[in-house]
């Protein structure tokens, strides 16, 4: 069975799936660009200091620099909290006078047990020292890593499995298929591993960005190649030899 030999209806169905996957991956890339840049619209490249903040800083500071950045009044608020975390996150006068003021201004409207505002997150309160202290550990904790890693690994594996299987029945050269399939899977493992390793060295943030970029590019490339094979004739140079 080859993609270009499928019936018209099968081609339509597969095209819908592949296009939807491309849209989903582009949406994910858009979200990543928004989370790891200062922009609030459009397609953006992640900024490395924000990637490093997310994976190498404490969860509190990382969130203030990335996913919660839009709620932070001024960048000085982040520096102030980061300094406090760096000094050991102690319940001292600086915490009570300065850090709590930032929490009140920027965080507590949503992050409090009693908040009923739209989008409130009462399950993650930042109302007192004990609440805040638990998010000051550097990098991903074991529990947080296990939580996000299993969701991403299993979810992306399903996606990756589908697109690489579709590619496997395309008419491209074996070297192209093998190369793309290996790159896609290996970059997924590297990406997720680097989330954890960045806890120990900020340089692994570069691996996150690089592996993540290649991972996204490889999925989109596979989808586009499969779409091409579904509807057009592959140039002879790229075609597998026994299918000439």
């Amino acid at each position: 069975m080859r993609l270009n030999n499928l019936s018209f209806h099968s081609k339509l169905g597969l095209s819908g799936l592949l296009i939807t996957i491309i849209l989903g991956v582009l949406s994910a890339a858009t979200l990543i660009g928004l989370l790891y840049s200062s922009a609030d619209s459009g397609f953006n490249l992640p900024e490395m200091d924000k990637v490093q903040a997310k994976y190498s800083s404490s969860l509190l500071v990382g969130a203030m620099k990335t996913s919660m950045y839009q709620h932070v009044t001024v960048d000085e608020d982040i520096d102030l909290v980061a300094d406090w975390v760096k000094q050991g996150a102690i319940n001292n006068d600086f915490f009570r006078d300065e850090v709590m003021l930032v929490m009140e201004n920027d965080c507590q409207s949503c992050h409090s047990r009693s908040s009923t505002m739209t989008g409130a997150i009462p399950s993650i309160p930042l109302s007192n020292y004990e609440d805040i202290k638990r998010y000051t550990e550097r990098g991903f904790s074991w529990a947080h890593m296990a939580k996000v890693a299993h969701i991403h690994l299993l979810g992306i594996a399903m996606l990756m499995g589908i697109v690489t299987l579709i590619l496997s029945i395309s008419s491209y050269q074996n070297t192209i298929k093998m190369g793309l399939i290996c790159v896609a899977w290996i970059t997924l493992w590297l990406d997720i591993s680097a989330w954890w390793l960045a806890k120990f060295s900020t340089s692994f943030a570069y691996l996150i960005a690089l592996a993540g970029t290649i991972e996204i590019a490889s999925i989109i490339t596979i989808c586009i190649l499969c779409l091409f094979d579904l509807w057009f004739v592959i140039p002879a140079f790229f075609r597998e030899k026994n299918n000439n």
């Binding site: 018209f8 095209s15 296009i19 619209s41 459009g42 397609f43 409090s112 009693s114 579904l230 509807w231």
Partner: protein
Amino acid sequence: MKHLPSIKRIPLAIFMTFILQPYQLLASETQLISIQMSQSIHLDGLVDEYWKTAPQLKLRLDKLPYQADNYQGLTSTDVTLKSMHDEEFVYFLVQYPDPTKSLKRFPWQKQKDGSWLQLKDKDQTGHSNIYYEDKFAFFWEINTPGFAKKGCAVACHLINDQGKINGIDQKGITAGRKYTRRSGETIDMWHWKSVRMNPVGVVDDQFVDHVKDPKVNKNWGRHGDNKTGGGYKNNINKDKNGPAFMNITNDGLNDFTITPEQKTAFVDTFQTGDLIPGIKSESFTGSRGDISTKGVWLDGVWTIEMKRKLVTSGKKANVQDVQFNDLSKQYHFAISVFDNSQINHLYHDGAITFTFH
């Protein structure tokens, strides 16, 4: 494309439609452009022909600061904004769907025994969501860091888990307070009030500063602009058991506030269940009355026109009012809709950029 069989154009068409197009739509999502106009605008609460040339911004408001236990109003509405300006004034056209025209703001009602009762309700914060009025607000950055990013959230402070704001007990008193972080930081607030001020043709021009102590100001950071006269007051007699005044005519237009033209001494010739306005209104004079307005509710839609001088004058104009004194500059604002509610309001995240063209 000409050489492709028509059937093979399908995937390309799908790609163009669903992948490329969304990225082209991202530009200018939250920007309102005011265009220069050549003719004068008459404030009548109608969408006159000249408004059709102005670019519009449509924005969904679907967030509430708290869940009031008796709130029955909107949880989402799409607000359409337009703006034009001339050499002296800036004009705004605001439209949003609201299926109910809410006018009964704390009215007096005649009881079976002949006494009068002022109808009021209170939610868990002590504020009304049933006997109130529809309102709309503009919130303009004057000089508050973070406003361009956070919008009105920069000055919004909700009660914490201990029921306090800035260490002061506010449980049962309010859901939140407005104040800026530091001295010298102010925000201009244009509060359009359908019952109290719309009939007299002005917006209640207010501002927010850094005051976070009710001993300094009972409304914390929220203040009215300087005024030389006018305003609204409760319509209550000396014994505080009934209305002091009523309108000369009760014809639907004059049923819910008492304007100077209609004001007359209260004489009780009413039937059980009849309503008398709980408020009397006069147009503000001074800085608080800087903004003229006319709002009309028709077929489930509020249409509100506003007009203000680009640059206002007065003793504290630069502190209390946004000054559109540089038409090449970007300004930032946020909006909110109050559906028959005293403090609960629909809002949006972030700020809207406002430019002159």
